[in-house]
Symmetry: D2
Amino acid sequence: MTDQETTSEDEQLSELYADFETENLIPLWTQIADLMPAVPKPKAVPHVWRWDVLYPLAARAGDLVPVGRGGERRAIALANPGLGNVPYATPTLWAAIQYLGARETAPEHRHSQNAFRFVVEGEGVWTVVNGDPVAMRRGDFLLTPGWNFHGHHNDTDQPMAWIDGLDIPFVHYADAGFFEYGSERVTDEATPDVSRSERLWGHPGLRPLSGLQDTVSSPIAAYRWEHTDAALREQLLLEDEGQPATVAPGHAAVRFVNPTTGGDVMPTIRAEFHRLRSGISTETTQEVGSSVWQVFEGSGRVTLAGETQELSKGDLYVVPSWTPWSLTADTEFDLFRFNDAPIFERLHFNRTYTQGSIR
Amino acid sequence: MTDQETTSEDEQLSELYADFETENLIPLWTQIADLMPAVPKPKAVPHVWRWDVLYPLAARAGDLVPVGRGGERRAIALANPGLGNVPYATPTLWAAIQYLGARETAPEHRHSQNAFRFVVEGEGVWTVVNGDPVAMRRGDFLLTPGWNFHGHHNDTDQPMAWIDGLDIPFVHYADAGFFEYGSERVTDEATPDVSRSERLWGHPGLRPLSGLQDTVSSPIAAYRWEHTDAALREQLLLEDEGQPATVAPGHAAVRFVNPTTGGDVMPTIRAEFHRLRSGISTETTQEVGSSVWQVFEGSGRVTLAGETQELSKGDLYVVPSWTPWSLTADTEFDLFRFNDAPIFERLHFNRTYTQGSIR
Amino acid sequence: MTDQETTSEDEQLSELYADFETENLIPLWTQIADLMPAVPKPKAVPHVWRWDVLYPLAARAGDLVPVGRGGERRAIALANPGLGNVPYATPTLWAAIQYLGARETAPEHRHSQNAFRFVVEGEGVWTVVNGDPVAMRRGDFLLTPGWNFHGHHNDTDQPMAWIDGLDIPFVHYADAGFFEYGSERVTDEATPDVSRSERLWGHPGLRPLSGLQDTVSSPIAAYRWEHTDAALREQLLLEDEGQPATVAPGHAAVRFVNPTTGGDVMPTIRAEFHRLRSGISTETTQEVGSSVWQVFEGSGRVTLAGETQELSKGDLYVVPSWTPWSLTADTEFDLFRFNDAPIFERLHFNRTYTQGSIR
Amino acid sequence: MTDQETTSEDEQLSELYADFETENLIPLWTQIADLMPAVPKPKAVPHVWRWDVLYPLAARAGDLVPVGRGGERRAIALANPGLGNVPYATPTLWAAIQYLGARETAPEHRHSQNAFRFVVEGEGVWTVVNGDPVAMRRGDFLLTPGWNFHGHHNDTDQPMAWIDGLDIPFVHYADAGFFEYGSERVTDEATPDVSRSERLWGHPGLRPLSGLQDTVSSPIAAYRWEHTDAALREQLLLEDEGQPATVAPGHAAVRFVNPTTGGDVMPTIRAEFHRLRSGISTETTQEVGSSVWQVFEGSGRVTLAGETQELSKGDLYVVPSWTPWSLTADTEFDLFRFNDAPIFERLHFNRTYTQGSIR
């Protein structure tokens, strides 16, 4: 180094930054604007995936790509365009279409990642969760909480596709993932209409005395469409009768919950079903945390950060953190939603902004 | 007083005790054996009340005693023979048969005491809870948690009777009771099959987004027999299939719970339904806290502190704290039970002793 | 019975009531006014016990009544004049002066009842809780939660007296009491200044890694006067500086808590220390549940249901449920209070009324 | 596209993958090995930063880089070599040395990120948290929970440096950050020895009645070295006396906790202090989640994934998720540790493996 007294401050600074780099150090003052913005600036972007694009691509994969040990699942993930080349719908959430051809089996495994399935159309597959065969049918919401063995098998001559939701991106980010292979085939090939978990737990307000210990995730393996539909229908009928029932005028909604606690079905994932009357619009809302929505029935429009897109059956879209969103129903409009809100609520980072008031 | 030196110790002691009495003091050492026994020594005694005695007495009251403001309810309480002349089934629990004649109304009121109804036979009455008319039918378990206005009206030409359970003795003991009169007639005379509370909350695993705040007591006004029966039946079928489901071999049981928490329906009262296969006996059990049981269907025997009694439909019996009890089923045997276990669990006094192991 | 048609209604009614009695039944309609009043009507009455009466009586008992196995403790209980001849300060709470002569020992035992000691004057006794000797000194609040073995021994040539508080009346009422004898002498006769529990747990905001499991009752055996005094003094100094710290102007107060939860020290008993500046009066307050207060230092007045009494050091008084009370300080005024509020809060019966607003 | 029948499967597959890419889709089967490994495979690596390197670099920054609005803090972050060029000690945790020259002020701001300071040497700076000036001295652990305004000012003619710990990486990842500027100077320039928060909350087992509402983060702004040191010393003395107190033989440890709940000081960050007797080694442990340790006093060695490094005063090292670690003390050895365990416990991903047993 040259004589300190003649060294310019700029040279000293450059040398300091070089020494920082050598010593695996980075100063805050060059990073703070990006690191700590005034409000969240997600890299993830709003995006819509069309069911009439997704399903044919999944079917082509069904023809070309076998399902089995190693690849494990014929699942094709939504890759948020803002996140770079990773199979993440949002920074925390995985959303994929999974496709199982006639008579195919996806082998059993288990992992610490929490998973669910949602069925927008079709039937004929049983997912077997810790040995309990669970029929999958249109409108059903099905759980595979972390560390439960599970596989799927198609008992029909028709293919079936559905949506998988998991916390894979979060678990990968957080280095919290464990994974184990299970049976090559599902451990129970029975095809009952109703799973054992539903027979034990699917009675409103009734808890088996054999199940008094609270569980981290819901013990109900399948939330059936007939119940979801009835709950939403009754909310709108009660509203018609002038009774409090809907979350906003013309907007019925239910949350899928763990009956042992009344809380979310799994520690990282919230799941809800929404029904808007034709013509209804929601207030524009911003939330900390990200969501994935899928249209179940009807048509309407979503406005995401000011841009409006038409939606119809099966279409999926993502709402990144703090992105303003609103929905408008052009018909009666049914949508399934899942998000990472339990993470933010449990860590007390949740914030919601709706029309001028922070809650 | 005589010269201290010549006063005997006995005299001094008598004087001391007299002074204690004057000053509103009582020494521990004369009381401890009764106050603090090695195990609970309840004054309440085991007792059986027969439905074929109770019902005719209630019917006679129906002929002779009007129902209305002041007396409020035509309810006739089980008075535990051990407790002296008080209308208490146990130190904490009230159990009564309530009888409402054809077209009669029991006026609305509210109180801090928690209440429920259980229907062993009959129908035709609607209990109106905070304006929500709730049909009462055989096998139904109906809630009126503390401080909810409620009245009953019989919409038929037949009388109807049912069981009321409350925490009146506890609230009276604890000086915690508040009471207010409401409407002379029920505020909604509609007679729907299903209450609004059930339409909003009675869907398994589904929580309305308009009801995300946890509630102290269950928001479900009626737990219907068809659900209870199905839940018990499925437990026995699962047992037949070799699956874990029953609380003990041949013994199916459910607890009625608050869907917002998974916990008991009300802060002081637990309610359960038990079904024993014919021929099954339970283990002899001792529990801190007291229970009231009612036979719903079938016949069998209960052994209470070593004495066995035959039971048939509608019979009620009480189990005082720490009294050994066991049940034997002579047919398929359905029983409703309520107790004060939430008090003891929340205050950490709960203990159970079953066949040699303290839990 | 005579011919039914000629029997008057009165006769029929008399017969009905006689049959009720035979069958161990009592109708609600004759009882409801007493059973379910509009607001709590406690049998317990407000009452003051004077320290200068209590202490000499205890000393006389010290001369006349030995302490030892069987009687267990030389404890003389406040007997509420409204409750009949029972040693209960209130329906739920036991309060007694306990007196231990020079070199005496009170033998070890344990019980499910929760207990504490509060020392208004004196020192020289060690209470040994599960083998941990705990020095007792003026101003200290000492715990013996349910089912911990404990005995006391006086290591000096002077007698010592203090106040015992327990939930004996509640546990007796609720048939929840278990009792076991322990060692005839205390199991550790050491006389350290500080107990082991304090050395492990008495560091503010620090939790031992060996104690991460939450405990039902506080693991701290002694809450020392120097801490209580400092906490109260700082609240008043902060108030002087214009900072929020006191519970009301001129009124400093702390609650003794379980450091594993931040909640009450024991499941049934709340304990607090209050300091009023000279000249300060509290608002008149009504609370569900009962309290016992003891003056620690200074003088003032309490108004109980409209009647005012002078108070000075050591005086004890009880406030039954829903009885209006207020305090006025004639000097700086220090008071210890314990009550049964945890019972009412855990069972959701708590209500407080202060100057027109129900909280 | 050419004739379908003559197209090879490979070509079809390439076309399918190209279409996936066009449609923002990525298949699971090409990603699963990286995404869902059998056990966590963190990108973060174990690394040690030396205090005798860090401090001089911070001092050079003190000469060359002003502190003030915009850059906000003269903080230099540990950048984990495995994470690419980001200022993250681990995927979730920020750790930096902050340096404040004589008489300098770091302006006030607030952010949703949770922060603490730990002082390994020096004194003379007050951190002002929501208007409460908090002295910083060697051994102190100081909190700035999310959304509290805070600034720092050096009231002496000497520089001072300390360690900042935050959840910046987690909050950035999760898009949950909010940030606001406050006062240019600290809002209270007083220099008291003890903060107001300590005067209100720093009394063991005592809770102010003005603070009965539980808080998300601890209300104690400073955990003082004299308390931490005393707690650790007592644990070792109790161990000498044969009493249970230490977490393992020769290993004393405390967790800094929120006195309103007994839980962690902030929702995302756990902080602990460990003291090993000379010669003691810990068992080799693997944990889900990452930690940062700093040597406070003494010397020893850490073994991280099989590699051992010498440690002395001020040295910092990081332990990525599931990386085996153990410590050996060559003298009495005092270490401060913070980690992200609350995130994993609240989301139920926590696992620990120690010498053959998974807990």
